[in-house]
Subunit: 406 residues, 2 copies
Amino acid sequence: MIKAAILGYGTVGSGVYNVLNSNTRLVNERAGREIEVKYVLDLRDFPGDPVEKQLTHEFDDIINDDEVKIVVEVMGGLHPAFEFTKRCLEEGKNVCTSNKELVAEHGLELMSVARENDVNYFFEASCGGGIPIIRALNDCLTADDIDQITGILNGTTNFILTEMAENPGVSFGKTLKQAQKKGFAERDPGADIDAYDPARKIAILSSIVFGSSVDYKDVYTEGIRGITSEDIRYAATLGYAIKLLAEAKRTEEGIRVYVAPFLVDPAHPLYSVNGVMNAVYVHGNMLGDAVFTGAGAGSLPTASAVVADVIDAARHDGKRAYCGWKHDEKLVLASNDGIRRKNLVRIYTEDEGKANKVFSPDGFLDTISLGELEDEIAFITPELSEEEFDNKVRAFGKVISRIRFY
Amino acid sequence: MIKAAILGYGTVGSGVYNVLNSNTRLVNERAGREIEVKYVLDLRDFPGDPVEKQLTHEFDDIINDDEVKIVVEVMGGLHPAFEFTKRCLEEGKNVCTSNKELVAEHGLELMSVARENDVNYFFEASCGGGIPIIRALNDCLTADDIDQITGILNGTTNFILTEMAENPGVSFGKTLKQAQKKGFAERDPGADIDAYDPARKIAILSSIVFGSSVDYKDVYTEGIRGITSEDIRYAATLGYAIKLLAEAKRTEEGIRVYVAPFLVDPAHPLYSVNGVMNAVYVHGNMLGDAVFTGAGAGSLPTASAVVADVIDAARHDGKRAYCGWKHDEKLVLASNDGIRRKNLVRIYTEDEGKANKVFSPDGFLDTISLGELEDEIAFITPELSEEEFDNKVRAFGKVISRIRFY
């Protein structure tokens, strides 16, 4: 028997409680021992809910109870989640979390506290929801030197982009509102649509893959706020999909990490990942290509990942589990300037002559026009570095929009 | 430091040797200790190959060496692989294998020997090549009650079906020859094209998922030998792909396991898995849908999975790792007769009247005809059980071909 506490009885916390109560026999069998939830911490009361038996308003009940060996932190936010987690680890309690903000911001420090106290800090649910990507990296693809990881790591934006592609002409704003109505987007959607959320996740994943801490604030981050229904129609005309990709890649120039919307080819495995699904592509030097797909969010899929951590914590009670993210130094990322890519650029028809001069090596760009949009055309640039592209735009003047080809 | 031996220096064995020598630092770091290959067993000599230092022709060198704690069995075939594996386990050595024939035939007995001797018998590479599906089931998706697993588990047949779809009109025989030339099919291709290979793999996977031993001989198995270029053209006309699917599913009637070619809808995640890639769809009661995709065969991807087992064996030295396949009784499978599916049926044009009478509830079947095939038509049946379908065919007479809709 091992006792656990859950900090926070919100969407994920109640999911964790639900999974532990629904799959009890299987969970205990796989953990190799009985797991009992002794406390659930929340400021609120839940009259009539079975959680009442375990509910406490006092963190001290948990921190002072030596029987509690596993703490599930699913409060979200940085404070007091950080202080609570740190104190639990210091008291020799394992902590399992879905809190990507906290892991991205203080993961390194918390892992070092865990190491000093011979306990584990697990965060499977912080990236890719129910997809077991962190355990895949730490425990499954262990024979490989992973040199690239590319993911669709945010369900909200993938839902919006999929909806826009399936309903041509419907605007970004309208689609966002619909996502909010369906509960797929927050009332304050900034972390998703401005891509801070996938930036945190790719920072966590690349810290595991490359061993040293990637600071999410160093990750070049471009969201989908600027994607219009016209962009989506151009993409469809070309047979491509627009996807918000988060990528970390080892190159000759160093490790590059970025998040941005890209035009993705139908032959690419991430092309067909639609709606709220997430997917992570991994390349290993022996394995080659592998892709992990699953629900990126939602109470139960996220709770499924958290409970897998709880089971692993029970299996490893008293022992440290392996984690690839283990070096204390911060990883200095390579600049993205040198990446050469084609771009889809939209301009006003009247500027075609100037565009030919500036963007085409031989002065003749193949242009694409959508019947309905008479005053504009689009074209595909040759492969250009970010710097070259910026210089050309400077020479050209303002373009309507630009999307990189993946 | 932990010492290992490799039984067999063929395609997979040399791959394992290669992975251990190429990724040495990473492998040791993740194993938590140095892994040294002390012996490689093979009947042949390899003059000039670095393996000469470790090469032995005598199994006794390995079995009698107490330093050897991990044995990699990559000889293939049942004998002497079975006897060697059993003796190693009895001597307290962990065994890691890619030998699906052996695991499917004697896995239960070997796991029980492993259990009695407090060592591990790992077989990640036996299913799905480099895809870490067994570890995903045993160690990652542990919070879930898995009720379905559906895979494209054979790269050879998936390559043939993909080639036939991409080159309309090219026959099965010609495509098979091409696969053989490219090294994607064996000279004796029976195990692949008659689907014994994926039947073994789904038997192994379903034993892990459902806990008790599934005998691959009980799995309804239908290969792709009968698939013609005409079938592929009908599928393409409907917008579907023909895929050889291996499925295990818990239903109200019990657990059903079968392998057969199916018409797969473009919206299904396995539709776009092409060429030699494998993929496994898993459904969990909390997680929902998850898909794992990767290289299903090949020296290095398979070796990557074997070496992940070696690392896990080193991590678990002296301890037993969890495996879902743990009950000694054999699982009695439910009959497939009750599954209701639509079917694509091809008949000679002259039999249309009879088909309307036999196959259509209201006497009017929508027929599909391909311009080039004047003397035949095809139609889609209503949902029928296997038994109902067989009865109808008996009443109708001979059909040209029949493929189930997934």
